[in-house]
């Protein structure tokens, strides 16, 4: 579905919220697992990552729904069909990986043999979606990690592509994702 020349305020807001959330989760996930931390600090960071990660998953689902029902702007005519195809595949993988990272995290927590639920800042606990299972939990932990690495690579490629459009191709791709009304080209 393509229509109009720009994405609209809702999609643009969701895109940048999603970008911030995903980058923050990747950074926090790497820090909390790799840094040499005291147990209490590590526990708190894991709990924060779980709560924010679950909210990021919800945001991803909302974005996918909005993307499915809302018309996307027309492709810029200067973009070749091959680039357009690559972008489509890239965007699909971004959504898919964001979804996979979130879901594997949720299943990992749900099936963990240490029952520590996702605590949404003391307000409510997110329900489990799997039963306790050490093998499943370990598998999900690995899947979560590798999917997160793949997502990080794809986010970097996505950002690099946007910058290339802006600075090398000098087209409106990035401008229309920051809400600037592009000149018709």
């Amino acid at each position: 579905m393509t229509q109009g020349a720009h994405w609209g305020a809702v999609v643009i807001s969701l895109h940048w919220f999603g970008a911030l959330a995903i980058v923050a989760m990747l950074a926090l996930g790497l820090y909390m697992t790799e840094a040499d931390l005291e147990a209490a600090r590590k526990f708190d960071l894991y709990q924060l990552h779980k709560a924010l990660g679950w909210l990021t998953l919800v945001l991803t689902v909302v974005r996918i729904v909005v993307r499915a029902v809302k018309a996307a702007p027309e492709s810029l005519p200067t973009i070749s069909p091959m680039t357009r195809g690559l972008a489509r595949v890239g965007h699909f993988l971004l959504y898919a990986l964001a979804l996979i990272v979130g879901l594997t995290g949720w299943v990992r927590i749900s099936s963990a043999i240490i029952p520590i639920p996702i605590d949404l800042f003391g307000l409510v606990n997110v329900p489990d979606i799997a039963t306790m299972n050490l093998g499943l939990s370990d598998l999900m932990a690995s899947a979560h990690r590798f999917a997160a690495y793949a997502l990080a690579v794809l986010v970097a490629l996505h950002a690099a592509a946007a910058l290339k459009h802006h600075f090398v191709g000098r087209d409106a791709t990035l401008r229309r994702m920051v809400g600037a009304r592009p000149a018709r080209t």
């Binding site: 040499d36 931390l37 005291e38 147990a39 209490a40 600090r41 590590k42 526990f43 708190d44 709990q47 043999i113 240490i114 029952p115 520590i116 605590d119």
Partner: protein
């Protein structure tokens, strides 16, 4: 007419005589309460892929009776409020108080009572007693280092014990979280 002071003396003397007649050893001191300000109850537990967790319990009561002449007559007992656990994070504390670990709502008290005290050497004693946790009572051995302060007025104790939490039914997280919990209790009494 006897003075009030001599009356008190008479009463004290008769108590002492009754005590001896009852067979109580003259050298056994009365049990004294553990001074919370001079006592620390701490623990450490290991896990795979997670740093060693160290914590302590803030709320406890205890009685300590040390007989330096006849160590086997010494006694110690204490009760710890399991809900007073502190590992440095309220959220982590809450998890440890929960049903997966200490289950503090159902089992608010962890109790220890010595059944034997044995002097190993001048600086070491071995205390054996019963530890009750999560409704299960099992024997526990504490190795105690005894340190006398330079002025000889106070004696410090550092007790170490290793608890097998699985034996008490605390299975959560095993084998990622180790089954052994190392317990350290330090305290001090006036001689």
């Amino acid at each position: 007419m006897p003075s009030p002071l001599s009356n008190i003396f008479a009463v004290l003397t008769s108590f002492a005589v009754l005590g001896l007649a009852g067979g109580a050893p003259a050298s056994e001191p009365a049990a004294s309460s553990i001074d919370p300000a001079r006592t620390h109850i701490g623990f450490t537990i290991d896990a795979t892929g997670f740093p060693r967790t160290q914590g302590e319990f803030h709320a406890f009561k205890g009685q300590l009776s040390v007989n330096f002449d006849r160590p086997s007559l010494s006694r110690v007992s204490f009760t710890v409020e399991s809900g007073s656990i502190d590992v440095g994070s309220p959220s982590f504390d809450g998890t440890l108080r929960g049903p997966a670990f200490l289950n503090s709502e159902r089992f608010p008290v962890i109790a220890f009572r010595s059944t034997s005290v044995e002097k190993v050497d001048d600086k070491t004693a071995r205390v054996v007693g019963d530890l009750t946790m999560l409704g299960v009572t099992l024997p526990l051995q504490l190795d105690v280092d005894v340190r006398r302060a330079a002025n000889g007025q106070r004696v410090g104790f550092a007790a170490r014990a290793r608890i097998d939490r699985l034996a008490y039914g605390m299975n959560s997280g095993y084998p990622i979280i180790s089954r052994e919990v190392d317990l350290t209790v330090t305290s001090e009494v006036a001689r």
